[in-house]
């Protein structure tokens, strides 16, 4: 007698019910997502990230730029070097009012919501558009470093031997410099070539940021390379590039991608640090580090001019914190030693 279909079904009914979400994402990704939305700290982190994303996307509505001007250039209200406290009137050359202004603030002209830094740069505008700068910088550097690191690491691991040796020594040499100092040096070298702006600092940070990914993907590929299905592919004569791209990389790339997404906050932070030191963009570019550097001239009066530090500082801290909260939860989820403990 043969088993009917219904009998087979009852025999193999899974103990755990698999929902549509899990079926769609696959078990690994599903476990990650579930871990993220059940951990209170990571929920706070993700809410903050959504908030920043909203501010970045809605920047033209939150703080409309002067028509025709570069939106990343902070509008200034005169040239006096003395900072103005939050709530003071905007006296000259006002930018256009956003549509919500009258309803929420209650005036029919601009006031400096978060004060104005020395040079009369409006801090509110800088913080809002600085969010865009932060995301732009973070995305670019993360993509570039991950691409470079993954390419070099895969080549190194797959070919091994002398190629591996050379690439790994290059990694060692790049790691010999403190990250920030190296980036500072390279952007000082690049600035005269490329002109002042955000690009020298971004290129410099990317140039000294790929080494960790190269090491990580290399070790993961080394372990995947010896699996049976890779050997099988090699036996039937599949080309090197195809084995690497179709069989090895998809199975080895996941940890590297997670680490790369976790380092997003670090890149934004390093970029802000460079701007703070006066190495990033030109004065007046909407960028948190740039705004904070205005405080350097007023160290003795920071008690009175607290707003120069607090508002951009808060934005930067919350941004990095949100990324770290999510990253911390991810690390706990993915750490095999902690698996099953929750």
């Amino acid at each position: 007698m043969t088993a009917t279909d219904s009998e087979l079904d009852t025999q193999y009914t899974p103990v755990r019910k698999i929902g549509w979400l899990e079926r769609m994402l696959g078990i690994e990704l599903y476990r990650m997502v579930r871990g993220l939305v059940t951990n209170p700290l990571s929920i706070i982190g993700m809410l903050l990230l959504v908030f920043f994303l909203f501010v970045a996307l809605a920047a033209p509505l939150l703080a409309p730029p002067r028509p025709g001007g570069d939106p990343y250039q902070i509008p200034r209200d005169g040239y006096s070097s003395v900072p103005k406290p939050p709530g003071s009137e905007w006296s000259s050359r006002q930018p256009p009012l956003p549509f919500w202004w009258k309803a929420i603030v209650g005036t029919d002209h601009w006031i400096h919501l978060m004060g104005a830094a020395s040079g009369q740069w409006d801090i509110y505008y800088g913080v809002v558009w600085g969010t865009r700068t932060a995301l732009r910088v973070g995305v670019t550097i993360t993509l570039v470093t991950a691409a470079v690191g993954i390419t070099l690491g895969s080549i190194s691991a797959y070919y091994g031997g002398a190629v591996d040796m050379i690439i790994m020594r290059i990694v060692d040499i790049f790691l010999a410099f403190p990250n920030l100092l190296a980036a500072m040096t390279l952007s000082a070298v690049l600035t005269p070539k490329l002109g002042k702006g955000i690009y020298p600092a971004m290129i410099a940070l990317a140039a000294f940021g790929w080494m960790g990914y190269a090491r990580l993907i290399r070790s993961d590929i080394l372990s995947v390379r010896e699996r049976e299905y890779v050997l099988a592919a090699r036996v039937i004569g599949v080309r090197d590039a195809r084995i690497l791209l179709r069989h090895i990389l998809p199975n080895a790339i996941f940890p590297t991608l997670v680490v790369a997404s976790m380092r997003f906050g670090d890149y934004v932070l390093s970029f802000a640090a460079l701007s703070f030191l006066g190495i990033g963009a030109e004065v007046g570019y909407a960028d948190w580090g740039q705004l904070l550097s205005f405080a350097r001239a007023w160290i003795t009066n920071l008690g009175a001019y607290w707003f120069i530090v607090i508002f951009p500082g808060l934005a930067l801290v919350l941004f990095v914190l949100s990324w770290n909260l999510v990253g911390d939860a991810l690390r706990d989820i993915l750490d095999p030693r902690l698996r099953g403990s929750r």
Binding site: R169, I170, D172, I173, F174, A176, F177, P178, N179, L180, L181, A182, M184, T185, L186, S187, A188, V189, L190, T191, P192, K193, G265, L269, A272, A273, F276, L277, G278, I279, G289, L292, A295, R296, I299, T300, N301, L302, G303, A304, W306, V309, G313, L316, V317, V320, L321, N324, L325, D328, R337
Partner: protein, 354 residues
């Protein structure tokens, strides 16, 4: 063991060579005129004189010749004196500080060293102690507190933290001033009767029995030390905590407890030494991080060290100076990393067996 150490030491010249290549590569972005700052104090404006300088120091020659001259220096055919040569400790001249890069290093390095050394003390003491406490009290309130401290620490950018410190403790409370030393104390330090043995004022003032100067300098150092080190407190705390937790769950600890040993002895004698292994590894990363961190910390507090010199030079695009300082830092780090690796082999027998 010997084998491991020898292999590690053989890597040093290779890495140092790589570091010089990287720096020299970045120098090639400069024009020969800018590069002449490697050899002459003032770059001449007159074009004929400038051409003479470029030819004299071989700045128009093939790259490998230039590299060699950059390493060992070149002899000026007119005076017979050797100029340049990083191996001779001559890194060229700073355009903005109008002195040689070597002089900047000589004058400012002791201050940076002093700051870094003082920062290591609270990190190792505080971070390790807090980490052990939080592991022993796993998932109780000391653990939660220190985890929150850890994650907040990681998220606070050094310069925001430093500015907040200045805002609270200097601008509002007037407790701790920025800078390195007060004017009155500096006059005494620079005077004849004060002997500068180490150039590190905290130590020199004690050796000279000038406790008033020590107190003054210490007051200036409090904020920079906290700012430079809080990040590594947080790091050290997390590493100690997780490695301590791992060790505490091992069988030999259960055995020790089953024997009826006092919990304090189990923690301090049996668990702690093994839990400290990863902490030593972090030591290397910490040296890297502290040296990187001085750039920002010194700039925020106007502390006259290597880091603020590098930041000033970089923001003024004084590339020769920045590259000189980067070269110094890179070489120090290569050597420091090797020392740590070798130390590690002494502590952890498993490394030697590989």
């Amino acid at each position: 063991m010997i084998n491991y150490i020898v292999r590690r030491l053989l890597l040093v010249p290779l890495l140092l060579f790589g570091v010089t290549i990287l720096i020299f590569g970045m120098l090639q972005f400069l024009s020969p005129v800018q590069r002449s700052a490697l050899y002459v104090r003032d770059i001449p404006r007159n074009e004929r004189v400038l051409d003479g300088v470029i030819r004299r120091y071989g700045l128009d020659q093939p790259i490998y010749v230039q590299y060699w001259k950059w390493l060992v220096g070149t002899r000026d055919p007119r005076t017979g004196k050797i100029a340049g040569g990083i191996l001779r400790g001559d890194f060229g001249y700073s355009r903005t500080a109008s002195e040689s890069v070597a002089d900047i290093i000589k004058r400012r390095f002791p201050a940076t060293l002093e700051l870094t050394l003082w920062s290591v003390v609270p990190v190792v003491a505080g971070g390790v102690v807090l980490g052990v406490i939080s592991a022993v009290n796993h998932n109780k309130w000391p653990d939660h507190l220190s985890r929150i401290f850890g994650i907040l620490g990681w998220s606070f950018p050094t310069f925001v933290f430093g500015l907040l410190m200045l805002m609270i403790f200097y601008a509002n409370l007037r407790w701790f001033p920025p800078g390195r030393i007060s004017d009155w104390a500096n006059r005494i330090v620079l005077s004849e009767e004060f002997h500068s043995y180490t150039k590190m004022v905290t130590i020199d003032s004690l050796l000279n029995l000038r406790f008033d100067i020590f107190l003054d300098v210490a007051r200036h150092m409090v904020l920079p030390v906290i700012t430079l080190s809080y990040l590594w407190w947080a790091m050290m705390l997390r590493v100690t905590r997780s490695s301590m937790l791992e060790v505490l769950h091992q069988d030999y600890i259960t055995t020790a407890r089953a024997k009826g040993l006092h919990e304090r002895i189990v923690v301090n004698r049996h668990a702690l030494p093994n839990a400290l292994m990863p902490v030593v590894t972090i030591g290397g990363t910490m040296v890297l991080g502290l040296l990187s961190g001085v750039v920002i910390t010194e700039t925020v507090f106007n502390y006259p060290g290597i880091g603020s010199a590098a930041a000033d030079a970089a923001s003024n695009l004084d590339v020769v100076t920045v590259l000189g300082l980067a070269l110094l830092n890179g070489s120090v780090l290569v050597v420091a990393n090797v020392v740590i690796d070798v130390l590690y082999a002494f502590i952890d027998p498993r490394v030697r067996l590989d």
